[in-house]
């Protein structure tokens, strides 16, 4: 299977994302001016500070040619994974519900976080049972998941919560401990923690690899 990893000016995690995708197939970079996603089986919108995060994180990236193509790809059912800044971009683009705000304590957090799989069905969570715990790092300044209460109720009722921070691990004040959500169809997943940084035992955890392997299993 072939992965595309979007690269905006200001992206910084695209190399690790390529490495992670490369363990579950082939992967290539997708420059932000590219519109042609021909041949791709899945797309990753990686972390970083796209277009300097000016205005709001992800606000400008959503208008890039590559993101317009990614929106079409997602609408056609293609699997899309947004990590950190990529999650912010997908929320700004309206592909995922909610928004990400400045961390409650204003500090940039960079540490390992314990996540609990919350049961959302998606290609990325295909091999992960609800209630399973994953150890995956977070590193962000604007990761406080927010949605109005009625939207949160709807997301929960639809089983769109993919991951929550384990009790006591919410690093940013996210509503209802939400760390990652999927769209209604389940093919788009966004999360603040970085599964692409948790694919080698050398760096402490390989739990992140399971999200990438999940898709390649579904695609195969």
């Amino acid at each position: 299977m072939l992965w595309g990893v979007v690269q905006f000016p200001g992206s910084c995690d695209e190399r690790d994302a390529l490495h992670a995708c490369g363990q579950a197939g082939e992967a290539r970079l997708l420059w932000h001016e590219e519109r042609d996603l021909g041949g791709l089986d899945a797309v990753v919108v990686p972390g970083g500070f796209s277009y300097g995060d000016y205005l709001r994180a992800g606000a400008i990236a959503r208008f890039s040619p590559a993101m317009e193509a990614v929106a079409d790809f997602a609408a056609a059912g293609g699997p899309v994974l947004g990590i950190c800044n990529g999650f912010q971009v997908l929320c700004e683009a309206g592909l995922l519900p909610g928004a990400l705000l400045l961390n409650e304590e204003l500090r940039f957090v960079c540490r390992q976080a314990e996540l609990v799989a919350a049961g959302a069905e998606s290609p990325f969570t295909a091999g992960i049972e609800p209630g399973e715990r994953l150890s995956i790092p977070v590193k962000h300044g604007e990761g406080r998941y927010f949605a109005p209460p009625e939207m949160l109720d709807r997301i929960e009722a639809n089983d769109q919560v993919a991951f929550r921070y384990a009790p006591g691990h919410n690093p940013n004040g996210s509503a209802r401990d939400i760390a990652g959500v999927v769209n209604e169809a389940g093919n788009v997943l966004g999360l603040m923690p970085h599964p692409e940084h948790a694919v080698e035992a050398l760096t402490g955890s390989v739990d992140g690899l399971r999200l990438f392997e999940g898709v390649s299993r579904v695609a195969a």
Binding site: L55, R56, A59, I60, F63, E92, G98, A99, L101, L102, N103, E104, E105, L106, F146, A147, P148, G173
Partner: protein
């Protein structure tokens, strides 16, 4: 060209940690009795077609889920 100022604020009820941090710093500087500090953004621009500005604000300058915006016409009375 119409000169315009757009004010963007966090919606009421949304925790604004920037505002809180500013508020907490004030007593140390001798400013007592300041409450409910909220920090937003201000964008100035010139537009050929001001009719389209609300759409522009909703699509880019503000995120309607978390922010309110207000468009001020700077040509008034200038």
């Amino acid at each position: 060209m119409a000169k315009v100022r757009v004010l963007i604020r966090p919606k009421g009820g949304i925790l604004d940690p920037q505002g809180k941090a500013v508020e907490r710093a004030l007593p140390a500087l001798g400013f007592e009795g300041i409450e409910r500090v909220r920090v937003g953004r201000m964008v100035e621009l010139e537009a050929e077609d001001p009719e389209r500005l609300p759409e522009l604000c909703e699509k880019l300058l503000a995120n309607p889920l978390i922010e309110d915006f207000e468009i001020e016409n700077l040509d008034d009375g200038a």
